[in-house]
């Protein structure tokens, strides 16, 4: 795990690290990745390609329109709401 790779992952994860933090995250991630590499030894040839382990299957709900009437409560936790909208910095010029 090198610096460039760590910075690439951090960008994907929307996280920023100071130079000092980068050193330790680089070291920790390297150790963790080496450690989880033991999995490559596991023989999974007996399993079918479908990797899902959810035997019972996931339920799906009926596609029914429901009116929750919760919009005011849901917006209550937003930092900068405008009327019943969430706001973000301008994205289109």
């Amino acid at each position: 795990m090198d610096r460039k790779e760590v910075l690439g992952i951090a960008k994907l994860a929307r996280l920023k690290f100071e130079d000092k933090e980068l050193e330790s995250i680089e070291k920790d991630m390297g150790q963790i990745i080496d450690w989880i590499d033991i999995l490559q030894q596991a023989d999974v040839s007996s399993l079918e390609e479908n990797s899902s382990d959810v035997e019972a299957g996931l339920r799906v709900r009926e596609d029914i329109v429901k009116i929750s009437g919760l919009s005011k409560e849901l917006i209550r936790n937003a930092k900068e709401p405008y009327e019943s909208f969430f706001t973000v910095p301008k994205v289109v010029d």
Partner: protein, 484 residues
């Protein structure tokens, strides 16, 4: 009469039925203890006014002889990972430190309907990521039990550390925890209480702030095995709001809890016999627990779980992968912390960088890595397959045995200073006995069995059962508890 806060949930029930004391008196006694033991940092938020109001309603019902359930009038702590309507819910993170949910989680809703009194929201590792309650934004919870030789404070374990401290320290009659890789069982073992992780799908996850959704499960943490059964009765059940909730009948878990283990076959995994385990824990497991169960009429057999050696690596791929995806929602837009930036991307970046702690960032990074192009097949998909192998191992063994027994942890509770010398992997190795159970989706309990010889710190034994067979686990745990 013993102190009100020393009573078990079962004893509270007897007292309420005989009208010996009021729920408001019990609640007041707990609130006083919480105040006096604030050094334990067991609670992030104490809801004293709400608790007293709830207790008055319980008083009325007790007076009229119309109690709602065996949890009516029972004051409990709620891990601050369960959304509680109109009560701040933080996940012990800066990014959610002012979040007030507009809705109630299913499990807390069930307990409220049963008449339980909520004393407050208990401390935890940030987003339930940690094994010592050291990653909380609100500071660590402290174990009420100290080391005998130097009276030094030790960690509670984690992530449900505040819940464990609340029960062990007399700050709640029981507490709600969640368990993704051992987060109920390990702190229960470290603090000398009982903690049960039910089968995946037994209790609804709706309204529990997600860490690793395919592994997260709510469970009770109590003073005794029977209390654990009583509390589970009012947590379990199908919920259409959780797509992985299983629609299966919920028995009364207190039924037959004293039936014993006569005729049961209990397996000891041979792969764990040579693990690096603390000597006292090894003895409690291989000698004491085996002897207790044999004396009670169980047969102990050696079993094999060949893929167990891959469990930790599998967990530390799957859990961070799911976490990195689940925690993508914390972006400063709809709730939680918002740190401004010139662009939308800058706002995301600034908010997340300021809002998450070190361990959470580490797991998001590892999760993002194993899900990224080029590594997805080698790590994430492979881990899903190995998870299947591990579950298969357990299902094979359960064709022959009724329970599997291991220690809960490889070592007793450690001090904060000791933990500072641990690198992340040393910390992850603490989960060696608990993590495989979450991967296999099975139910398991930690029950106290002994104190370590020198430091007199609690030691827990883990009993693992078949899918949805929490009842058998509780019976065997009751035997171990009774033999102390």
């Amino acid at each position: 009469m013993s102190k009100l806060t020393d009573l078990t949930i079962k004893e509270l029930n007897i007292g309420y039925d005989k009208k010996e004391f009021k729920a408001s008196e019990v609640t007041e006694a707990y609130l006083k203890n919480i105040d006096a033991s604030s050094n334990l940092n067991a609670y992030i938020t104490v809801t004293a006014d709400e608790a007293m109001a709830q207790s008055k309603l319980s008083d009325e019902r007790i007076g009229k002889g119309s109690r709602l359930s065996k949890m009516d009038g029972v004051p409990i702590g709620v891990k601050d990972l369960f959304c509680t309507k109109d009560i701040r819910t933080t996940a012990a993170s800066h990014i959610l430190d002012d979040f007030v949910p507009p809705y109630e989680s299913t499990v807390t809703s069930q307990l409220l309907t049963a008449g339980s009194i909520f004393l407050g929201k208990t401390n935890l590792d940030e987003f339930a990521m940690g094994g010592a309650n050291l990653t909380s934004y609100f500071g660590e919870a402290i174990n009420p039990i100290k080391r005998a030789t130097d009276n030094k404070e030790v960690v509670t374990g984690g992530s449900s550390g505040g819940s464990a401290a609340s029960v062990a320290g007399g700050l709640a009659a029981g507490s709600l925890g969640t368990d993704t890789g051992g987060s109920i069982r390990q702190p229960a073992a470290f603090t000398g209480i009982v903690g049960l992780k039910p089968t995946y799908g037994r209790c609804s996850r709706f309204g529990i702030i997600a860490y690793a959704s395919s592994l997260d499960q709510a469970g009770p943490m109590c003073k005794t095995v029977e209390d654990t059964a009583i509390m589970l009765n009012h947590m379990a059940g199908f919920d259409e709001n959780d797509s992985t909730s299983v629609d299966i009948a919920v028995p009364d878990f207190t039924n037959g809890i004293c039936d014993g283990v006569k005729g049961m076959k209990i397996g000891i995994p041979k792969e764990l016999l040579n693990e690096n385990i603390d000597k006292d824990i090894e003895q409690s497991w291989k000698d004491k627990a085996v002897r207790i169960l044999k004396d009670a009429g169980a047969e102990i057999v050696e079993i094999s779980l060949p893929n167990l050696k891959y469990a930790l690596a599998t967990y530390y791929i799957l859990a961070p992968a799911e976490a990195s995806s689940n925690l993508a929602r914390y972006d400063g837009v709809r709730f939680g912390l918002r740190v401004d930036g010139d662009t939308l991307d800058d706002m995301y970046l600034n908010t997340r960088t300021a809002g998450f702690g070190e361990e959470v960032k580490r797991r998001i990074m590892v999760g993002t890595y194993v899900l990224s192009a080029g590594y997805y097949d080698a790590y994430y998909l492979k881990a899903l397959k190995v998870q299947k192998l591990i579950r298969q191992d357990y299902l094979n063994v359960f064709k022959d045995v009724d329970l599997i027994m291991t220690p809960t942890t490889p070592m007793p509770a450690f001090t904060v200073e000791e933990s500072k010398s641990f690198d992340p992997i040393t910390m992850y190795l603490q989960d060696i006995f608990t993590v495989p159970i979450n991967l296999a989706r099975l139910p398991a309990i930690s029950v106290p069995i002994a104190l370590s010889s020198t430091e007199k710190l609690p030691i827990g034994i883990q009993l693992v059962g078949r899918d949805f067979d929490e009842a058998t686990i509780l019976k065997a745990a009751k035997v171990i508890e009774g033999a102390k």
